[in-house]
Subunit: 460 residues, 2 copies
Amino acid sequence: MAAIDDVIKYTENNRDKFEEELFELLRFPSISSDPDSTEEMNRCAEWLKKNFESFGLSAEILPTQGWPVVVAETAKKSDRPTVLVYGHYDVQPVDPLELWNSPPFEPRRAENGNVYARGATDDKGQAFTHVKAAEAWMKAGVEPPVNLVFLIEGEEEIGSPNLEDFIREHRERFLADAVLISDTSQFGRDLPALCYALRGITYMEFIVTGAKEDLHSGMFGGIAPNPAHVVARILADMKDPNGTIQIPGFYDGVKAPEDWELEEYEKLPWDFEELAKQLGISKLSGEREYPVPVRKWCRPTLDINGVYGGFAGKGAKTVIPSKAGAKVSMRLVPGQDAERIANLFEDFVRERIPEEYQVELINYQNSPATVIPVEHPAMQAGKEAFAKGFGKEPLLTREGASIPVVSFFVDEMKCPTVLLGFGLPDDNLHAPNEKFLLEDFHRGIKTSAHFLDAFARIEK
Amino acid sequence: MAAIDDVIKYTENNRDKFEEELFELLRFPSISSDPDSTEEMNRCAEWLKKNFESFGLSAEILPTQGWPVVVAETAKKSDRPTVLVYGHYDVQPVDPLELWNSPPFEPRRAENGNVYARGATDDKGQAFTHVKAAEAWMKAGVEPPVNLVFLIEGEEEIGSPNLEDFIREHRERFLADAVLISDTSQFGRDLPALCYALRGITYMEFIVTGAKEDLHSGMFGGIAPNPAHVVARILADMKDPNGTIQIPGFYDGVKAPEDWELEEYEKLPWDFEELAKQLGISKLSGEREYPVPVRKWCRPTLDINGVYGGFAGKGAKTVIPSKAGAKVSMRLVPGQDAERIANLFEDFVRERIPEEYQVELINYQNSPATVIPVEHPAMQAGKEAFAKGFGKEPLLTREGASIPVVSFFVDEMKCPTVLLGFGLPDDNLHAPNEKFLLEDFHRGIKTSAHFLDAFARIEK
């Protein structure tokens, strides 16, 4: 009998124990945005450390400028690859509390097979699958085929302000052959998905100033500069009604999805009519000449995230604003350079500022798109793991959003990152009644266990 | 000796008395926007009533839904025209108090000849010139050549919410052959101006809705509607970079200024470079093909008074807004119908809403432009009054703003309104250190006295 069989048997024999521990973990109100949660955050980190130690990993709690990080690892052996598991033990706030059907920090097992609690899926439940898979390997009487390093942070829900510096500081410790993250979701129920690409982002703001103070539109209308008109014209120039971006050079180098990808997307069980209905619109928007999945995952975008100027309160005020501005983010795809896009954007804006106006530009974020080649051993291992853990080949998907920690691992740490999403799209992340299907918790544990087995084999 | 000579002599003999009374009036902190000022508002109204009675007018304090109105009048005689004087006894708040060089409700006579106090020019000082002119006529031992009605309200600084209803309710009492208002200013020092035209206004808001909730720009960018782009495109379409409005039919019927007007404007001592400097801009904006005074007074305008949508705080947030909108006001000139402009605006917006969006329109205000023909007896009387009271022919000017009470008198009460501005453009209205040149207070009294004399003569 292969070692993996003993491991899987261990996971089956310990379902109750795993669930009990998950529930314990979910009881900590580890809300990272709450400055008064120091005791709960520390207790939660301490609990995790002890849990790691309970099955033989060496674990410690390391400080950052903010909330501490829990690091656990197996003894490193040079004859096997290293897998880094990233997760987070902090959770979102629970407001509005009155919309919860049960207290958010008293995990409730429902008849529908879900556990309801804040953090059930994001990310305690999903991260814990890997912890329990590690336990299964350690306790099944067989040796894990990979070196394991866990990095469980406490600041993901507040934007991971200290994570990158922390990893850089301990760089040697976190070098790995693959990073494993479960902080996304399946495509739908019983539809596990392997996400192999994320879009990047360039985020800009421009602020146009006319007169140095707000003016009366009666006394000065007709002779005073009105920066709101300049902002509107620039924004209108940027994107045509079809959604095609008009910034010269913006699409240079954009890599179109390959044929196999388009074929793959065709197979996915989309329901765009239902999606439009959920959004409350008559149809989806965007570039007509591209299929919806391509618009969503493979095409770069430009969206106004905010526009402002003058009086926005109730009623009428006859003011000519002194300042107006807009926040604009562009989602980038493979082949686009984020800094170059920022420069093109800036040129586009500056060229359109009439002489009696001033402009200021801010570049908040530049992060490239990420693609993990599907042939990569880590991705192959991911596919096999899902096939065995869920009994289904995973769908191959992209994601339209950017996950900064993934960009960091891929671009700076040069380490392929595998996103094994075990949650469901309707798990109420960041909302009341967050949930996690317990069956998916267990399938996640098995999938993780299989991943380690498969990756060690394929990587060789 | 003509009666007017006795009247003028009375004003000269009573300069000290008039100033003392003005200072008394300025001591009331009659801030209409302060709900706690009931006692001060009532005391101020009571003081005015007594002042009117002191020289023989019958006066009363009439309630409204808000602050009371002081009404005073001479006994009505059918052989002479009636002049209605409109003014207001309420004042603006005084914040920021620390910027005042002396307490705002302790009138201070400075060496430069000014009195400094809240309300000095807006409008206690200016309105009181007409009260003292009436006194001079009543006390000089000659009979006033007109019937006089004073309407001094207490809500101008909060938008006169009850004034129109109040006048309608007492309609017969306020029917007049001319309305006299001093709540504007001279063109500059020693440059009295007679304003014969105001622009009208149509004020609109449109709110565009895409998805029913804000969406994540990574997950939905490329397929979700973004109403901020629709708003930007509509606003950009409305006005070209030269300032020419693109709403079809907008300029239909617009009356160009006549040659004599253009000649008159040429003569005015403008300093547009200085104005641009004060505004902090390199040059004035607007329609290049028109002289600046025409842009400011005679051309209709369209200005964004507010634009909003999505995230306007500090930093970056990757949201696709559910709603975005804009508040837009259009200043109208003679020949334009305000309701028609509102309809054209609405059509223009609705035609540009793509099918997956919703739009809501609000029409806050429709008020036509006002022109008092300069040949009208009341205007002729105004010219003569300035010539005698200030020793200077007044400049003939327009005003770019709209004064709702003037539109009301002209359009609804069918009564020509004469704006005798005695203040100066730098009198710090609505700002710290409001002032009024005492010499202009006295010249205003004389001008008002002459107006009654001239109007009675010319009207016959």
